[in-house]
Symmetry: C2
Subunit: 534 residues, 2 copies
């Protein structure tokens, strides 16, 4: 069953290998876990619902305490701390499970008639507070799209698939693969996040280099708004004025509820493989990545770990003997301390894969990269969606893990990356605490790339102190990002946690433009208030 | 010097070869040209300016009759007919030539203080009435960005170039090529259209398959609005809410004046070549195109002429002996009547070009295509921007030429193409007139492609009758396009000519979204009124 207070399936646990624990203790000290609240304890804190009865929608709404607890928070670290401590504060007054567009329209009417707030809910995997209810004195109804999870149409000629917006990653792919197609959108949250959520939050997947971000995959669909139904026609491209699709992308539930997504799909490729190359140092590795993407070498995936992430991954991988052999081999080839690990994928026909692999290897070699073949790449592919489970393992040992991500132009990558890492690394020093910080670049563009930083610190003696540690690191680093030409989010969206930093990025007139849209579609701010902007 | 009443440089004339004229006479009958008005005659019709004097901007504004005539109309057929007849109707009251952002801000203040309308003007190449002044009882000031035509910055690492928005195609490329870079945006209007105009109208170039549409090339920049300056930061990608760039793209001057464009540029490629393949028929040719793009074979350009366009191009090409030899060769290979010509380009490193050409040839062969090498492809490249000059040659013979373009999903391409062609072909039959109609597909996406149709008809005995012929063909076909899942424009924008058809495409709520933006940025509808939407 899905964990009520953390990531994923509660039957699936990852163990940190012994030397992984030693590595962390050496970096940040040994830790004492905090006590988790139980589901039963939390359910007892859920207040009576304030939702008014209404025969037209009562069948759609579940007001039981456990359901409300399970839809109260996302997956950010501060959400975790709330769930683990049992101090959740605000719960939705109920969760609706519509099964059709007309159900959704009925819920919108219900909200209007009874002066409610609605929160659209996909997989509940937000790491920026998107789906957390807030207290504005009005009843809050969370609307889960979970039942709208079917492939509704597949146009093979135009390669367009229509999905219910609540379809989660595995069901998107399974329903397409049965016909020989793939969407190719693989965010790390793939196991739980939904196609509608990807659109609402402008998500990007691990293979965006081949398949594009969700902006490129979202061809059109249907949005139910308080002003009526917005049908977004599918067009391969158009110069007919501003693109309405691009206003829905990233709208985070503020304009309406996305109920159907028409997505651009691809035939399953003949071949796919992932490869790992080690570079002697950061500068060479980064230059190779830039060259690969600026020279348009058609990779399907590319990721570059900095030296600390490389070291951490090797330390936490288990199999010390194998890793030892790898280190020896690399050392013999001149790749030693400070080495950086690149993982890349090629996907396509046999001819394409052959040509693209050859081109990529050539660029890597020219930058001092040592190619190690497919073994480690296959390992990456096997574990690509399991990283969030590590958080659970570390939590049980007393470590809190969070990530921060942004994107910036190439000329600013080192500056921003170094500032982010230093700020996180030194952020808790006044408490005498160390933070273990490491980074990878994982989405590449001719113009720049994403920067994805993970940080690990010890939980404090109490939950409130632990929240304060997180809050300090999160706020100071977010501020630093937007003041240094980074976006407040490359792939996680704005939600409530990033909303205070958005005006720096968008500017006054940019915010005015977004506000013009929310005020036009939802003048009473009923839909997901305080998300994206206040 | 630039032609005041038609396309391009008046020293450059294309002659229609003799057999081309015979071909047209056979298709639509022999024609009698209409009499052109002279520039002097038209200048005499220009009324006194209504612009109030204002020392802060007077130096920027030119109110001489000839300048006002030269900025009164674009390049649509109905614009031509107005210019040729001398019945232009409305002229701007003056043309401003700002040289800086502060000049533009001064002009915006001037417009506000004196209750004027402003029309942003790039290259004046609109074929949808974007820059035509209308009569709303207020003085109209056209603002030409012509002086803001410089490369202001080139960031080699992030491959970002900053241009003044008024920089025309040849100056964009020349200034970049001096540093070894290219933008790669080559609309047919390249000779005159500007980078700011491309952004404002969501343009697409002939090599969009490699370089992307202007949406992909436009990284950010500056827009001067009546509410202040909108700075669009450059970010390689972002999930931070709706994308403001995408609201400016296609805004057609309604939100503000784009003054600076930061564009994503590429290193000049090592190699580039264009190739021509003939297919025995439409179905095979179209299937090959679909396969090429859906299989992600990295071409830099792709164009497919239908049978009538192929026949027309060969007839109008001149060199009847060479064409005769080609026809014999093709006939020997089984490619005869009904054949369709595909042109494609490959661009990149030697290894990429070799691999991509091989992949493309394999797909073409599998669909019955006969490869003819680079000779005809080089011809295409040589003449890629000269087609508009043919309009002049045909006009002098008494033929009017216009084009219509749209895009739709693959499953609808034949349906829409056939409807467009039949409607144009039969549209003047009640007058006893024939129209010669032919089509190519020229921008390809996994989901669908653009449809670009050219039509030629004889001018009537008078200008008003000729306008009526055009109006009938244009209106009925535009209506048909939006009622049949086509966009009202794939690459020319909305302007005034397409504005009546936009609501069908965008829907009521889509129009509401756009209107929310225009009303927020320009509540008094001072900027380019009646363009895009009323």
């Amino acid at each position: 069953m899905r964990r009520w207070n953390g990531w994923g399936d509660d039957q699936f646990n990852l163990e940190l290998p012994a030397q992984g624990q030693a590595f962390l203790e050496q970096r940040v000290g040994s830790a004492n876990p905090l006590q988790d609240a139980t589901l039963e304890e939390v359910c007892l804190k859920v207040p009576a619902t304030r939702l008014p009865a209404d025969a037209k929608v009562d069948d759609l709404i579940d007001t039981r305490a456990e359901v409300r607890v399970r839809h109260a928070r996302g997956q950010s670290l501060v959400d975790w701390l709330a769930l683990r401590s049992g101090e959740i504060g605000i719960f939705p007054d109920g969760v609706a499970f519509p099964d059709s567009n007309s159900d959704v329209r009925a819920l919108l009417r219900y909200a209007k008639e009874h002066d409610l707030h609605l929160i659209p809910y996909g997989g509940g995997t937000s790491v920026a507070g998107h789906i957390n209810p807030i207290d504005q004195g009005k009843p809050v109804l969370t609307v889960s799209l979970a039942k709208m999870n079917r492939l509704l149409d597949l146009d093979r000629e135009s390669q367009l698939a229509t999905f219910g917006a609540g379809t989660p990653g595995p069901l998107v792919e399974a329903q397409l693969r049965a016909h020989g197609y793939t969407l190719g959108h693989f965010p790390q949250s793939f196991e739980l996040s939904t196609i509608g959520g990807w659109v609402a939050s402008r998500s990007s997947g691990q293979q965006s280099l081949r398949y594009g971000r969700i902006e490129q995959l979202f061809a059109g669909g249907r949005v139910e708004t308080l002003q009526g139904t917005l049908d977004l026609p599918t067009l391969p491209a158009s110069s007919a004025g501003p693109d309405i699709r691009e206003m829905i992308l990233g709208s985070e539930g503020r304009l309406g509820l996305i109920t159907e997504v028409k997505a651009r799909v691809s035939r399953l490729a003949d071949q796919e493989a992932f490869y790992v190359v080690f570079f002697p140092g950061w500068e060479q590795a980064k230059a190779a990545c830039r060259k690969l993407v600026q020279n348009r070498i058609p990779l399907s995936m590319l990721r570059l770990s900095n030296a600390i992430e490389t070291e951490t991954q090797l330390a936490l991988a288990g199999h010390p003997q194998l890793i030892g052999m790898l280190e020896k081999f690399l050392s013999f080839r001149g790749v030693r301390e400070g080495k950086c690990m690149m993982t890349f994928g090629v996907t396509g026909s046999k001819a394409q894969c052959r040509s693209n692999l050859a081109q990529a290897r050539k660029v890597c070699s020219a930058h001092g990269g040592v190619y190690t073949g497919t073994k480690l790449g296959a390992k990456w592919a096997e574990k690509r969606f399991t990283m969030p489970y590590f958080r659970e393992a570390l939590w049980q040992m007393g470590y809190a893990v969070d990530t921060l991500e942004t994107a910036t132009d190439w000329d600013n990558v080192d500056n921003l990356l170094n500032r982010i890492e230093s700020n996180l690394r030194e952020g808790l020093s006044k408490d005498g605490e160390r933070t273990h910080v490491f980074t990878h670049l994982s989405h590449f563009y001719g113009q720049g790339c994403s920067i994805y930083t993970t940080y690990v610190f010890r939980v404090a003696d109490t939950y409130p102190q632990t929240v304060a540690r997180w809050q300090h690191l999160k706020n100071t680093t977010s501020e630093l990002i937007v003041r240094n030409r980074g976006t407040i989010s490359h792939q996680h969206g704005v939600g409530k946690d990033h909303a205070p930093f958005l005006p720096v990025e968008k500017g006054e007139l940019g915010m005015r433009a977004i506000r013009a849209l929310t005020e036009s579609f939802d003048p009473d701010a009923r839909l997901n208030p305080q998300t994206l902007l206040d």
